[in-house]
């Protein structure tokens, strides 16, 4: 299997541990990831909210890059996925928009065909459950709070997901020995999207605070997300709020731990909220296994 790899700007330029973890984990699972001169998705909360047509055109440029190689595009962020998948979906149906986009891409000698599909990596993992189990070296035995991310699930008319009671992520963390702990309002937004985190940080923080309170009540070892943007919000907000210290892991970092990768290679130490205790706990688990 081969994919064009769309890391997105947060995983590249803010939390590179996520990019690294993804590369390691997918290499272990024998999935080839290929780089392209991608721009950022562009961000739905900013570009789409300012001018949707620009959003379509820039999104289409990214989508078109791997078309000559016939590669689908793997994203590791719900925001990137939201942009690329929505753009792809719209251009699939809307001929006028497609013509518009191609008119502009034509100016730089590109065309958009729609032959490369964006895929969220969790959907990819869904079909690789056996591979995950085969690569598992450590049974993590953690209590985790999973966070799906709005734009991975919704709008369902585009994503085709079940937005009210999804189980996929819960099942995947289960494969590496983690227990997904239910908590109140587990599916609500983290508060980052729509330009709110940058435009109205206080509002964003309030939404996040409520969310963190609910997670804290569930008494978990860490938060697991499938979106670099949510990841950044969870990690940075806890520092701002000061009253929380729940480690935040992107699913690929969690998988990395389970695959026996050293936490430093996964960039866990770069999080603002310390992951030290968590890493200790996992090491303990590994030791326990080794001694068996």
């Amino acid at each position: 299997m081969d994919y064009a790899f769309f890391p997105g700007c947060i995983a590249k330029n803010v939390y590179p541990g996520i990019e690294k973890a993804t590369r390691i984990v997918f290499e272990k699972m024998n999935v080839g990831l290929h780089d392209y001169p991608y721009s950022c998705c562009p961000p739905p909360g900013v570009v789409a909210c300012y001018d949707k047509d620009t959003w379509y055109a820039l999104g289409a440029r990214n989508l078109a890059l791997s078309e000559p190689d016939n590669r689908d595009i793997m994203t590791i962020c719900a925001g990137c996925y939201g942009t690329l998948h929505n753009v792809w979906h719209e251009l699939q149906h809307n001929d006028a928009k497609r013509a518009y986009v191609n008119e502009h891409l034509g100016r730089i000698g590109m065309t958009y065909k729609g032959t490369s599909r964006p895929i969220h990596f969790v959907d990819l993992l869904d079909g690789m459950r056996d591979t995950i189990t085969q690569n598992k070296e450590v049974d993590l035995d953690l209590r985790v709070a999973v966070h799906y991310g709005c734009h991975y699930l919704k709008p369902t008319t585009v994503t085709g997901e079940n937005s009210e009671s999804p189980m996929l992520l819960d099942e995947i963390v289960g494969l590496v020995g983690c227990k997904s702990i239910p908590f109140k309002d587990r599916l609500t937004c983290c508060g980052a999207g729509g330009g709110v985190m940058s435009g109205e940080p206080e509002l964003s923080l309030k939404i996040m605070e409520r969310k963190l309170k609910n997670i804290k009540k569930a008494d978990v070892d860490c938060i697991v997300n499938i979106c670099s943007f949510c990841h950044m919000n969870f990690d940075q907000s806890q520092k701002k709020l000061e009253s929380f210290d729940i480690p935040v892991l992107h699913l690929n970092q969690l998988l990395g731990l389970a695959f026996g990768v050293k936490h430093k290679h996964l960039g866990l130490h770069m999080n603002l909220v310390s992951t030290r205790d968590l890493v200790k706990k996992v090491k303990g688990a590994k030791k326990g296994r080794d001694e068996e």
């Binding site: 803010v14 620009t54 919704k154 709110v196 939404i207 430093k264």
Partner: protein
Amino acid sequence: MDKTMDDIIREGNAYACIQCGRCTGSCPSGRECGLRTRKIIHMARVGIDVFKTEELWDCTTCFTCQERCPKEVKITDIIIELRNLAVKNSYYPSMADVPKIIIQNLYRTGNGQPLSPEVSKLRSIIGLDKEPNDIAKDKEALADFQKLLDGLPLMRWGGI
């Protein structure tokens, strides 16, 4: 392809709204601020210039309301369109200013969130290339990208 209020109401099914309030009840943002999703839709369909209201910018575009609307009002899509309309009419409140920086970054580096020297160092510590293998590195691609952006409406409306 500029849309009028009328287009937005029609394409988003806003006329069908029965004011059930399921949208506001679902809204994670409205719980913390003055955003009343139902009211936005109502104002739109009765012809009030709702794009002028600041609450429009409180939405996190989480799509929960749109998912639950029994009348298939494309609420979040409408909110995004209304924001577009606001921008086109230079009607964005101060909170919409910060994203401008993001747009500037986007133009300059191809990324809304550009690479900082600190993170570049961190990248090499964990064994990644100092600079990501993306548009920021590929000068030719970046020039094309800027050319593309130059001809797109964002640059007109974004006020940059």
